[in-house]
C-alpha cells in the first residue's frame, strides 16, 4: 500500500495560524480511519511540537509519513536550537516569554507531553542550526480500513 507524504509549513510567531498543520494531520488521519485515541494522541503531539516551532523555530516544516507499521511525524525548524536537551525535557523547564505564557503556553510541559503521547520520540538539536523531532505512533494503528 502506498501512502503519500505530506508537508506543512510552520511560520515563526504566527499565532493566528499556529495549529493549522496539526489540524491538517488530524484530518488526514481521520480520513485514513485511524482510531479516535490514536488520532487524539498524534494530534496533541503535533500541536505541542507545532507551538514550539512557532515560538522558537524561525519557520519550520511538519511532515507526515505513514506506512503499514505506523505513523511518522517529523517537525524540523531553523531556530536557535536547544543547548541542553535533557534540561528541556524536564517538566516545568521553559524559556518562554511573557507573551507566550499569556497565550496559555510556555509552562515547560510541551516536550514531556509529546513523549507521553508518542510510542517513540527522538529529538536532536544543534545550537544555531535548529531542532528536529521524530514522533512515531504504532499502537492502535491498523491499515485494514485504510
Amino acid at each position: 500500500m502506498h501512502y503519500p507524504r505530506h508537508e506543512f509549513p510552520i511560520k515563526e510567531m504566527d499565532f493566528v495560524r499556529a495549529g493549522e498543520a496539526s489540524l491538517q494531520v488530524k484530518k488526514i488521519l481521520r480520513e485514513m480511519k485511524a482510531e479516535n485515541d490514536l488520532v487524539r494522541r498524534a494530534t496533541i503531539a503535533c500541536y505541542e511540537a507545532e507551538i514550539n516551532a512557532v515560538v522558537y523555530g524561525r519557520d519550520g516544516v511538519m511532515s507526515l509519513e505513514v506506512d503499514d507499521e505506523g505513523i511518522y511525524i517529523y517537525v524540523e525548524d531553523k531556530g536557535d536550537g536547544i543547548p541542553d536537551i535533557e534540561q528541556a525535557m524536564m517538566e516545568g523547564f521553559s524559556t518562554a516569554t511573557e507573551e507566550i505564557r499569556e497565550m496559555g503556553f510556555g509552562a515547560g510541559m510541551g516536550l514531556p507531553n509529546i513523549m507521553k503521547n508518542a510510542d517513540e520520540f527522538t529529538i536532536s538539536s544543534a545550537v544555531g542550526e535548529g531542532t528536529r523531532l521524530k514522533i512515531i505512533f504504532r499502537s492502535g494503528w491498523t491499515t485494514e480500513e485504510a
Binding site: 495549529g19 479516535n36 487524539r40 496533541i44 497565550m103 496559555g104 503556553f105 509552562a107 510541559m109
Partner: protein, 124 residues
C-alpha cells in the same frame, strides 16, 4: 441543590441555564452530556491532563483555546467574566463544531454554580 445528575452528567443545555450563558456558536443541539469540568488558563494543562469529553472554563479568548479544545476533544468551552472572543475565534469554533459559551460569572463563581448542580471535577 440539584444533585440527581451527578452520576450521569449534565447536558450542555443545562449548563447554559446554570451559568445564564450566551451560546456564541449559534444554534447547537446542546444535547451532549458533560461529565467533568476543568478550569484553567493554561492550555498546556488541557493538552497534558484533560480527558476528552470535558467542559473547559477559561478566561483566555485567543484562537489557540479553540485549537486546544478541538485537538483535546473537549465538549465545549465557557468563557468567564463576560470576556468574549473575537468573531474569528467564534468562526473557527463553528467550523470545527465546538460549542462556545459566554458567562458573566467569574471562573470561581461559574465553577461553584456547576459544582453545586452536581458536576464533579475530574479527580472525583
Amino acid at each position: 441543590m440539584i444533585k440527581s445528575n451527578s452520576e450521569s452528567g449534565t447536558s450542555l443545555r443545562h449548563v447554559v441555564k446554570i451559568l445564564n450563558a450566551e451560546v456564541l456558536t449559534g444554534e447547537e443541539p446542546l444535547d451532549q452530556t458533560v461529565q467533568h469540568v476543568e478550569c484553567t488558563d493554561l492550555m498546556s494543562q488541557v493538552l497534558a491532563f484533560i480527558k476528552s469529553g470535558n467542559l473547559l472554563l477559561t478566561g483566555l479568548t485567543n484562537i489557540q483555546v479553540v485549537n486546544t479544545a478541538d485537538i483535546s476533544g473537549l465538549i465545549g468551552v465557557v468563557f468567564v467574566r463576560g470576556r468574549s472572543p473575537s468573531k474569528e475565534v467564534i468562526a473557527k469554533a463553528k467550523e470545527v463544531g465546538l460549542p462556545l459559551f459566554l458567562t458573566s460569572y467569574s471562573m470561581y463563581e461559574a465553577a461553584g454554580h456547576l459544582y453545586l448542580n452536581g458536576l464533579p471535577g475530574s479527580t472525583e
